[in-house]
């Protein structure tokens, strides 16, 4: 059972566009929501993360929007560049988890055309 559902599976935008990747969850025990960026042949790298006590977090061109009541969160990439072409994963972790186990979405392959 996929605890974090991610869409779309793939996304193509022109340079300068604003791709949006969406994730949804059901388990209200989740309280930490990171996004990872992965380039081909490399391991995922932590990009940005949010906790449910805020509705938005920005780091550079990357913004997470969080809707606690809807149990949804999304990643927006402002002024997207060809170098942003990668696979993006959302994830979630349960409150108080000593293990720190992350539940991942299935990933979104983003292509930014020049």
């Amino acid at each position: 059972q996929q605890q974090v559902k991610q869409s779309p599976q793939s996304l193509i935008v022109q340079k300068g566009g604003i791709p949006i990747i969406n994730c949804a969850y059901e388990n209200t025990a989740f309280d930490y929501f990171p996004w990872y960026q992965q380039f081909p042949g490399k391991g995922p790298a932590l990009l940005i993360a949010i906790r449910p006590d805020v509705s938005e977090k920005k780091e550079g061109r990357f913004t997470i929007s969080f809707n606690k009541s809807a149990k949804q969160f999304s990643l927006h990439i402002m002024d997207s560049q060809p170098g942003d072409s990668a696979t993006y994963f959302c994830a979630a972790r349960k409150r108080g988890s000593t293990l720190g186990r992350l539940y991942f979405g299935r990933g979104t392959q983003l292509t930014v055309w020049p």
């Binding site: 991610q6 599976q9 930490y32 990171p34 990872y36 042949g41 490399k42 391991g43 995922p44 790298a45 932590l46 993360a49 994963f89 972790r93 000593t98 293990l99 720190g100 186990r101 992350l102 991942f104 979405g105 299935r106 990933g107």
Partner: protein, 112 residues
């Protein structure tokens, strides 16, 4: 600063052969360690995790096993590889007191 090393980067092994993938973390003590497998279109599947030396928990039954012989060393093994073991294997770590988890560069395993 902390770093994670995972090797080899790529590996081609025949069916029925043994496997040993190694992961080491530097710059931290007593981290949580994880092995994930990534299949195309299926995201990251947690295979094993460890909260201490000799403490291994498995998420899914399979042909693989894991061991943690030292505090910052995590090994993924198999006695006899199957074709279905092919995939991209990722090691990850997390400090107990922090929220962030960090991944190694991965091993692309092809079983032929």
């Amino acid at each position: 600063s902390q770093t994670i090393h995972q090797w080899p980067a790529t590996l081609v092994q025949p069916v029925g052969s043994p496997l040993s993938l190694e992961c080491t973390v530097e710059g931290t003590s007593n981290p949580n360690l994880y092995w994930y497998r990534q299949a195309a279109g299926r995201g990251l599947q947690l295979l094993f995790y460890s909260v201490g030396i000799g403490q291994i928990s498995s998420e899914v039954p399979q042909n693989l096993s894991a061991s943690r012989p030292q505090d910052r060393q995590f090994i993924l093994s198999s006695k006899k590889l199957l074709l279905s073991d092919s995939g991209f294997y990722l090691c990850a770590w997390k400090d107990r007191g922090n929220t962030e988890a960090f991944f190694g560069q991965g091993t692309r395993l092809t079983v032929v």
